[in-house]
């Protein structure tokens, strides 16, 4: 594979051509045979056999709960398989810890970065390595890795000064520094802007051309199509099949994943008689250190309309939604709730309970899904009760939540071994369905959703989009924060772009251009783009 190694200076040009030039060799870098993993009665992986070739990008596809993460966790030493064998370069190996995995040249970049904020990039990279500490040498080696694959990172920058993309770069450099040949990336683009994702892809192709094997887990099908050489599909813990990306298309991959034919489009009906529902005026929010998270933001959300909020992570969308729900301390400004007859109430300084009683539902899905909104150790009916437990006089009513739970499980096809299972034991996507299902069940006047489909497979995602659309048709004002820009553009009637806590643009959904929005997401202060509104 050495002939494919790139000169250090080559950047930018001809990358797409490179993608197709490297034909992977037939030799497997890592091969799994008959891997089975059970958790109690649940079979997470059932006799899975697959392999990744040297110099190949393999996309691992599957719905939520299909066992992708479990499988990858076994390769990276977090779990140990009940049955089956793992071969590296044709030799059988036992991987009992992440340390074993690293020494065999397997590295995983997790969705949530594991970096020490107060240390620099170099310090983070060498952290935990045996031998004498020589930062100079390490820095030189890091620069070499960066040049080789086209990373852009300052080795001496502190992690807390970095943006998400830079942090991810450090994570990848960290595993490459340890001489990794097999790299697993778990939803690497979830937090990136389109431009940053594009840059990551270029780096990935270079690694591939350098003879490394990459496994990528992602739910964004167009990315699978763009970046991978081959896809392997899992369904319900079983290996279903594989194909060369070139010979397939998104529809075929999705059908294989779901097990039946699905339609992939989001309909966007024209809003019917939109009326202002939430009016935000000059809202400013400071964080604990007095740094503004939201600065002088004003906008209107209307009934029967989906207002999308675009922005890179940390641009203030989380704080904005929390403020509307009454969970944030507000420095200045107003959040008016407009009733049907036009009377306005300022929600600032109202308690969350008062706001809920106004009909503002917050279906907020934070990074750790169970952190806010659900109680992990409780079962589904008890979680449904979170919204309705106040109905009783002294005792909680248990019948309605149970009924609601059954409806949600059926309507959203939640996969659960039973009603009495704690929700933390469900897979991420199913947890999400439970949360979104409950929030929508209250027929809210305002529906706030953040990352409603984070980590959800394509089929469940479309179920959720559908539900959100139904809320819109029913006259709710929907404020939608999402990380898949393609979907955001397809779903929203209007899109508010935030950048560093300020409004950097407001565009109409139909006809909005992805690149333009992507640029607004990173627009420099002061350069505000007001368009078509």
């Amino acid at each position: 594979m050495n002939e494919n190694e790139l000169p250090a200076t080559d950047k930018g040009s001809g990358e797409v051509g490179l993608k197709n030039s490297a034909m992977p060799s037939e030799e497997y870098a890592i091969e799994l045979k008959g891997i089975t993993k059970r958790f109690g009665e649940v079979v997470a992986n059932d006799n899975v056999s697959m392999g990744v070739k040297k110099g190949e990008i393999l996309a691992l596809l599957g719905e939520n709960g299909s066992g992708k993460t479990t499988l990858m966790n076994m390769i990276s030493g977090i779990y140990y398989p009940d049955e089956g064998q793992i071969f590296i370069d044709g030799k059988e190996v036992r991987i009992t810890s992440p340390r074993d995995a690293l020494s065999l040249g397997i590295g995983m970049v997790h969705q949530h970065f594991k970096l020490v904020d107060v240390l620099t990039a170099v310090e983070n990279v060498v952290l935990g390595l045996p031998g004498k500490l020589n930062l100079k040498e390490a820095e030189a080696k890091i620069r070499e890795i960066c040049d080789r694959y086209g990373f852009v990172v300052d080795p001496n920058k502190k992690v807390y000064d970095m943006n998400v993309s830079e942090k991810q770069t450090v994570e990848i450099v960290k595993v490459l520094y340890r001489g990794v040949n097999i790299l697993i990336l778990d939803e690497p683009t979830a937090v990136l802007t389109p431009q940053e994702a594009e840059r990551l892809f270029r780096v990935m192709w270079r690694m591939r051309n350098d003879g490394k094997s990459l496994i990528i887990i992602t739910h964004k099908m167009h990315e699978v199509k763009e970046i991978s050489d081959r896809v392997v599909v899992l369904r319900k813990g079983q290996y279903i099949g594989e194909m060369n990306t070139e010979d397939s298309d998104i529809q075929e991959m999705t059908n294989m994943m779901v097990g039946r034919s699905v339609t992939l489009n989001i309909e966007r009906k024209t809003p019917v008689n939109p009326m202002p529902r939430i009016e935000i005026e000059h809202l400013t929010i400071l964080d604990e250190d007095g740094v503004p998270k939201i600065q002088d933001v004003s906008f209107t959300a209307r009934s029967g309309e989906i207002l999308g909020i675009a922005g890179i992570s940390g641009c203030g969308q989380k704080e904005l939604l929390e403020a509307i729900a009454g969970l944030q301390k507000i420095e200045s400004g107003h959040i008016y709730y407009v009733e049907e007859d036009g009377t306005k109430t300022d929600l600032v300084n109202l308690s969350p309970l008062k706001i809920i009683q106004k009909g503002v539902a917050l279906s907020f899905v934070p990074e750790d899904r169970l952190g806010m909104g659900l109680v992990g150790t409780m079962n589904i009916p008890d979680n449904m009760m979170l919204r309705s437990f106040r109905d009783g006089l002294l005792f909680t009513h248990r019948k309605e939540p149970r009924k609601l739970a059954e409806t949600v499980v059926e309507d959203l096809s939640v996969v659960t071994p039973g009603m009495s299972v704690p929700v933390k034991n469900l897979s991420g996507g199913n947890v999400q369905k439970v949360l979104v299902g409950r929030e929508i069940a209250s027929n809210p006047k305002v529906l706030l959703t953040a990352y409603a489909v984070r980590g959800l497979d394509i089929n469940s995602s479309y179920t959720i989009y559908d539900l959100i659309n139904k809320q819109k048709e029913a006259g709710s004002a929907v404020i939608y924060v999402g990380e898949d820009l393609d979907v955001l553009l397809e779903l929203s009637d209007r899109i508010l772009v935030l950048c560093g806590g300020k409004v950097s643009g407001l565009v109409d959904g139909p006809g909005a251009d992805k690149n333009e929005v992507g640029l607004m997401m990173m627009s420099v202060e002061g350069k505000e783009v007001e368009k078509r509104n």
Binding site: K33, G34, F39, G40, E41, V42, N47, S49, Y80, D82, E83, G84, Q85, K91, E92, V93, R94, T96, A325, L327, S351, P352, L353, I356, L362, F364, L370, G371, M372, G373, L374, V375, G376, T377, M378, D382, M385, L386, R387, F389, R390, G392, L394, F395, T396, R398, P417, N425
Partner: protein, 367 residues
């Protein structure tokens, strides 16, 4: 295929859940194993017949009608304190201040008996005892809760330290009220008039037992079926979620610790007004801490707590019987108690987790 790599001897996997029957089978095996080990230890260290030692343990707890009643009464007190701590534990508020809360409750009752006994009508004394002991227990519980709610201080430390303050306050009052002067003890309060002694139902043990039964049932319902119980569970699991649905965590913490402290105060009332009729700094006998273990051992289930506290009291009565009747010292009883608890608590690991040995895997389906 050559196996160059070493296979791990075993790996540990968390179980999804174990059928109830099997759980009890595991616990049964654990108890049998504990008894076996106890027997071996007995033979090795004392050269006595283990059966005679075991029968001594049993005699200690259930040897006579009086012993049965005392065992039940002591179980009730321990159960009551465990139940008092449980709502706090469910909220993940680690109240290890049961000792101090019970002591303050006892002090409240004793104070009423000493200061007001024989001066005002007896029913009024009892009423004031109930009010003051429950109030003092609640106050002792709520102080750390307020600090936790307002400034997020660590409740483990503050409840623990409140214990020592309570002990010192009680020590002060035992000297202040000492009878006779110079003895450093209060002795039996109102021994002649029995003023402020809680009334008896049938015999002097039954009142305590009935209150414990009543509180057990109420606590079970409170935690499982009421709005308060639900709020406690939500706050314990995730304060963020609680805030998100409009529950005020600070309020729930304070309210729950009022209940927790009040129930500890009630236990103190029974200890002073019904069981001992006196107060000393050691009247609780460390049960404020033992109750922590009982509550955990029962996995915060009030019904299981009955059995857990009975087990602990049975063992401790048995242990003291061994030391007297078999001529062995108290340490031997502690060894036996230790072995049995080790097995009973240890077997929970096997209920939660599964150990898979490498030898017996692979179903022969190598692709």
């Amino acid at each position: 295929m050559k196996k160059e790599t070493k296979e791990p001897l075993f790996h540990i996997v968390k179980r999804k859940s174990m059928p109830l029957k099997k759980q009890w089978l595991v616990r049964g095996i654990a108890i049998a194993a504990a008894i076996l080990v106890c027997a071996i230890v007995t033979v090795i260290t004392t050269k006595m017949n283990p059966l005679s030692v075991f029968s001594a343990v049993f005699t200690g707890a259930f040897g006579s009608t009086r012993k049965v009643w005392v065992t039940l009464q002591d179980t009730s007190i321990l159960l009551l304190i465990s139940l008092a701590l449980t709502p706090a534990f469910k909220m993940k508020f680690w109240n290890i201040g049961g000792e101090g809360q019970v002591l303050m409750g006892g002090l409240g009752a004793a104070a009423c008996m000493i200061v007001l006994g024989d001066k005002i009508p007896d029913p009024l004394v009892v009423l004031l005892m109930i009010i003051s002991s429950i109030t003092l227990g609640a106050v002792w519980g709520v102080i750390p809760a307020i600090f936790k709610a307002k400034w997020n201080t660590n409740e483990t430390l503050s409840t623990l330290m409140m214990n020592y303050i309570a002990i010192q306050i009680v020590a002060f009052f035992t000297i202040y009220w000492e009878v006779p002067k110079g003895s450093g003890k209060i002795g039996i309060i109102n021994q002649n008039t029995n003023a402020g002694w809680l009334f008896e139902i049938g015999n002097k043990y039954l009142l305590t037992i009935m209150i414990a039964v009543l509180v057990t049932v109420s606590m079970f319902i409170y935690l499982k079926y009421t709005k308060h119980g639900y709020e406690i569970a939500v706050v314990g699991e995730s304060e963020k979620t609680a805030r998100y649905v409009g529950i005020r965590p600070g309020l729930v913490i304070i309210r729950t610790m009022l209940i927790s402290g009040a129930l500890c105060g009630l236990a103190g009332l029974l200890l002073v007004g019904s069981v001992h009729h006196t107060i000393t700094t050691t009247i609780t006998g460390g049960q404020g801490f033992t109750a922590v273990m009982v509550s955990w051992l029962a996995k915060f289930n009030p019904i299981s707590m009955i059995f857990a506290s009975l087990l602990i009291i049975f063992l401790s009565h048995g242990a003291s019987e061994i030391s007297t009747s078999c001529g062995l010292n108290q340490s031997f009883g502690d060894i036996i108690t230790g072995i049995i608890l080790f097995f009973i608590i240890g077997c929970e690991f096997f209920i939660e987790y599964q150990i898979i040995f490498s030898g017996k895997k692979k179903g022969g389906n190598e692709a």
